[in-house]
């Protein structure tokens, strides 16, 4: 009989009535090559969001509202030893450039901004607005 572990590898081994374990352990995450995570939807984009780590306060608003699960998160411990999420980047294969994340980012100068698709991220970070640009 197929064990749950076998079942995670190929669909034809699933038996009627089987309930698959969800792939919840990030370390051992077995994603089949048919998971849409491995697909690219980047060609939907005209503009892309660029992330500025220096301004981010890790409120994770962008994580919760991105419809395409684009935000790459690192689990870190805060001062009180509690686990918390740290945003480390954007998965550009999955991002469709909708701009929701920029809209919800609450920092006084946005930590996420839309830039033209062809622009280099380094270049975009150099052009980031400063406090004086406001007004």
């Amino acid at each position: 009989m197929a064990t749950p572990k076998d079942m995670m590898t190929t669909w034809d081994k699933i038996q009627p009535g089987a309930v698959l374990p969800s792939f919840e352990d990030p370390e051992h995450k077995v994603r089949s090559k048919f998971n849409s995570f491995n697909y690219k939807v980047a060609d939907w984009r005209v503009e892309k969001p660029v992330f500025n780590r220096d301004l981010c306060i890790d409120c994770d608003f962008c994580w919760v509202s991105c419809p395409d699960s684009c935000f790459i998160v690192e689990e870190v411990e805060n001062k009180r030893g509690k686990k918390q999420a740290k945003i480390v980047g954007i998965n550009y294969n999955l991002c469709k450039g909708c701009g929701v994340c920029v809209d919800v980012c609450p920092t006084p100068i946005k930590s996420l901004l839309m830039f033209p698709e062809f622009m280099d991220n380094e270049e975009a970070l150099k052009q980031w607005p400063t406090k004086d640009d406001k007004k």
Binding site: T3, P4, M7, G17, A18, V19, L20, P21, S22, F23, E24, D25, P26, K29, R31, F34, N35, S36, F37, N38, Y39, K40, V41, W44, D58, C59, D60, F61, W63, V64, S65, C66, P67, D68, S69, C70, V73, E75, N78, K82, K83, Q84, A85, N91, N93, L94, C95, K96, G97, C98, G99, V100, V102, D103, V104
Partner: protein
Amino acid sequence: MKKITNLKEFACTPDRFQGGHRLCPGCAHGMIVREVVNATDDDLVISTATGCLEVCSAIYPYTSWDVSWLHIGFENAAAGISGAEAMYKALSRKNRSYNPDKNVKFVAFGGDGGTYDIGFQSLSGATERGHDFLYVCLDNEGYMNTGGQRSSSTPVGAHTTTSPRGRVSYGEKNRKKDLTMIMAAHGCPYVATAVPGTKHWKDLATKAAKAISTVGPTFINALSPCTTEWKFKPEDTTEIADLAVETCMFPLYEIEDGHKLTITYRPKQKIPVEEYLGRQGRFAHLFKPENKWVIEEIQKQIDEYWEYLQRREEAGV
């Protein structure tokens, strides 16, 4: 029940609904589904009725689901999930379950077309039989996957391809069906409304966690702003959802045991409904002088309904 205290912690959850699906940019379906499936650590079995979510998350050969997932017809998401649940129970009883020490929970997703209209019989039946599952309605107020036809959830005045605006018509004429109350009247142990977005993320996640851990049939009606057919810019999705709550067009509440109603969010100051309608192309024609009365009518209906909710909450019946 998974304890969801703050977003910093919640965001450590590995996503169980992956990107790379083909929902439109800014589609609220993606936001809602992610939150619901991430709101529990239990293993999940999911069935999804035909509609935007289903066709976009399972384009051959790809799948966006990191949980067991059942492709089911437009009309029977609830029947499918109740069958799976019954089978799982039977197998467990015979000790033939693959992972006996794990909790497995059952969730169905359907659009409003697949819930308010065509899937209503299977939902009502599954509820009557008392299966242990959560049904989430992704309420975008129309049959969006097939080109934006009206459903019984379309609000008065909305332009859709089958309730078009024009010289003689101001759009949809029937009142939106109150499905949440209908589900409560079935005696569901837990029924709630919810919206996506950052302002009410906790409301949605807590309701989902609560519904999943409640034994018996539970129901969440989640407003799902549709950028394509409601006609607004993709980045505005969460703002539109917030406006629906602030204007009381889509109030947030929950009903326990079929009767105990609690309003879960009370706007500090109810905003006039124009603010909400004016942001969406589907209501643009209502702002013509000859249609102004429709807006007044909508406002009146909202006020009455809000009053009704508050009275019911007070009375505790």
